[in-house]
Amino acid sequence: MNLNFFFEVLIGGLLSGVMYALVAIGFVLIYKASGVFNFAQGAMVFFAALTCVGMVDQFGFSLWLAVPLTIVVMIILGIAIERMVLRPLVNQPEITLFMATIGLAFFIEGLAQLVWGAQVHKLELPIEDVPSEYLMEKFNILVSQFDIMAAGVCALLVTSLALLFSQTKVGRALRAVADDHQAALAVGIPLQRIWAVLWAVAGLVALVAGMLWGARNGVQFALTFVALKALPVLILGGFTSMPGAIVGGLIIGATEKMAEVYIGPLVGGGIEGWFPYVLALLFLLVRPEGLFGEKIIRRI
């Protein structure tokens, strides 16, 4: 076996995993704070990226102006979602809220394309997606410099969000909300405000994910599909854990690439679609709440 190639596959996988984690974080954020599985996260990634690019392409704004404007848009979106969707549905079963986010996904997808059209766009970030020469020369390993930057951004995001959850009063309140909406209200946690803030933050995370994925693959509808890549990461890492998203991402990324490269050819390839799911599933059989997820309390 070619060791160099092995490392390339491994590192490439790990870095892809980081990209998945980036999307997974958005899910964790919402799930942790409200127990809602946000189906619209993919749509939000698409919406954010498209809005940003749309401003650049259609209004001729510079990226430095478009990004802050998009942030404003995402905040408004977050607040609107809380007001129109979540507030009337407080204390409803998870599945109802899940369904509402499905409706939301349709709405956001329609809105994004209504405003910005259906064309695909390119998004160019200051850092180019080419192999890092330094690593190439030094270790003869091929790694994209863009991916390395993405990993940095992701680490930063996760650290700050993890701190938010574990160190602040709001973080504690969020976990309380996820357990029991009604009781959270009763102790005076301003559910509405917190949710609005949270969805706004989720919007920002979506923007970051959208920018990075968009720069990687172009800004187009398919960005909504990156959510599918985030799901196994979520179940493996646990729905409620920020570090879980990262670790899960790394594991999924690395193993799925390994599997595709080393097992794929034996069975006709294309196993990347289901392999991560099966892996996550097998793992769940051992730990039903994922790697770092909160244990599901079943007691009578």
Partner: protein
């Protein structure tokens, strides 16, 4: 005061445990069936039959299948389309390889194959719950479709990997007009809905609901979790499998494995949730909503002479907004809304 149960006293438990204990309901259902069997094929256009009613019925059946699993047994699943695919491709293979096999039997065999796959993929549900389970059922979805594209045997070595459903011939009668296909689908769906309703009001149904509502307590009472859950997976997959076969045979004709994509799984899940989780009626209402609403919106949007792309996007937005709207009005779905309307009607004209 059209809808009253006053005066309808049940003198025996037998009477009380009828499927539809209220007379008006029975009359309504019977007349609906009569209309569906006699009047509709006469009056409805080929378009209505083959583009609206047939898919509506097929989706209702699939939604019913998923509802058994998700609504009654409480196991969230995103793999419905995979089970449909198994049903369709298995039926196809049975017919292709066993010449002379009656087609209805092939559907049943297709359903049974789906049930088997359902049991296999239902095994993790013994340990995994909620959204974790939902996300892992995606494994089923991707794996099954992958198998269908990878294993040429399953598509009978067709070069493009698609299957072409054989003609439906039963006792020498060929079902090829929209009306005849519609009647066939109607018969299958009505029969299976009846069976589902029966299961739900018997001990199996109660065991599912008990496991759904509180599995630990269900166990303490003497339901065996494993058996109950796997039975739910099996029955549900059977329903989905038959629906999938009908989807191929009575609707699409030629299908590629991708016709049973994740997208379809989601659409069926939407039907269940919009219609009403844990309601047979809800499966039908939900299917109607998801099948008909986009068509309706499409017609409306285009009648405004908007540019097509604007109309299409608006359509999508309105659809999403309506889902949210209905959930806010009634989180338990259209079936519950219907029930409340009936309760109100029962009290009418005296509120409370």
């Amino acid at each position: 005061m059209l809808y009253r149960e006053a005066g309808q006293f049940k003198t025996s438990y037998q009477a009380d445990s009828q499927i539809f204990p209220i007379l008006q309901d029975r009359i309504a259902l019977l007349s609906l069936l009569v209309v569906a069997i006699v009047v509709v094929p006469q009056l409805a256009s080929a378009y209505t039959l083959s583009a609206i009613l047939i898919p509506f019925l097929i989706f209702s059946l699939a939604a019913l299948g998923l509802n058994i699993l998700t609504g009654y047994a409480g196991q969230l699943s995103l793999g419905t389309a995979a089970f449909m695919a198994v049903g369709a491709f298995a039926s196809y293979n049975f017919i292709a390889r066993l010449p002379g096999l009656p087609i209805l039997l092939a559907f049943v065999l297709g359903g049974l194959s789906a049930a088997m796959v359902g049991i296999a993929f239902g095994l993790p549900s013994l340990r995994i719950r909620g959204f974790y389970l939902a996300a892992s059922t995606l494994a089923t979805q991707f794996f099954v479709v992958w198998c269908l594209t990878k294993i040429p045997y399953l598509t009978n070595y067709s070069s493009s990997g698609v299957i072409t459903a054989q003609k439906i011939v039963i006792f020498g009668y060929s079902f090829d007009t929209p009306a005849s296909k519609y009647l066939l689908v109607l018969a299958v769906v009505a029969l299976m809905a009846l069976l589902a309703k029966n299961m739900i009001r018997s001990n199996v149904g109660r065991s599912w609901m008990a496991v759904r509502d509180m599995d630990v307590a269900a166990e303490v009472i003497g339901f065996r979790l494993m058996r109950t859950k796997l039975l739910a997976f099996a029955v549900s997959s059977f329903y989905c499998g038959v629906a999938g076969a009908l989807y191929a045979y009575a609707y699409l004709g030629t299908v590629e494995p991708e016709a049973y994509s994740l997208d379809l799984s989601f659409r069926i899940l939407f039907m269940v949730i919009i219609g009403g989780v844990g309601s047979v009626l809800g499966s039908f209402l939900g299917a109607a909503f998801i099948v008909l609403l986009p068509v309706f919106l499409n017609i409306v949007a285009h009648s405004f002479a908007l540019p097509t792309s604007v109309a299409s996007n608006l359509e999508l937005m309105v659809f999403g907004a309506l889902i949210i709207f209905f959930l806010i009005v009634e989180p338990h779905g259209l079936a519950r809304l219907w029930q409340i309307a009936k309760e109100k009607l029962r009290l009418w004209p005296f509120p409370h």
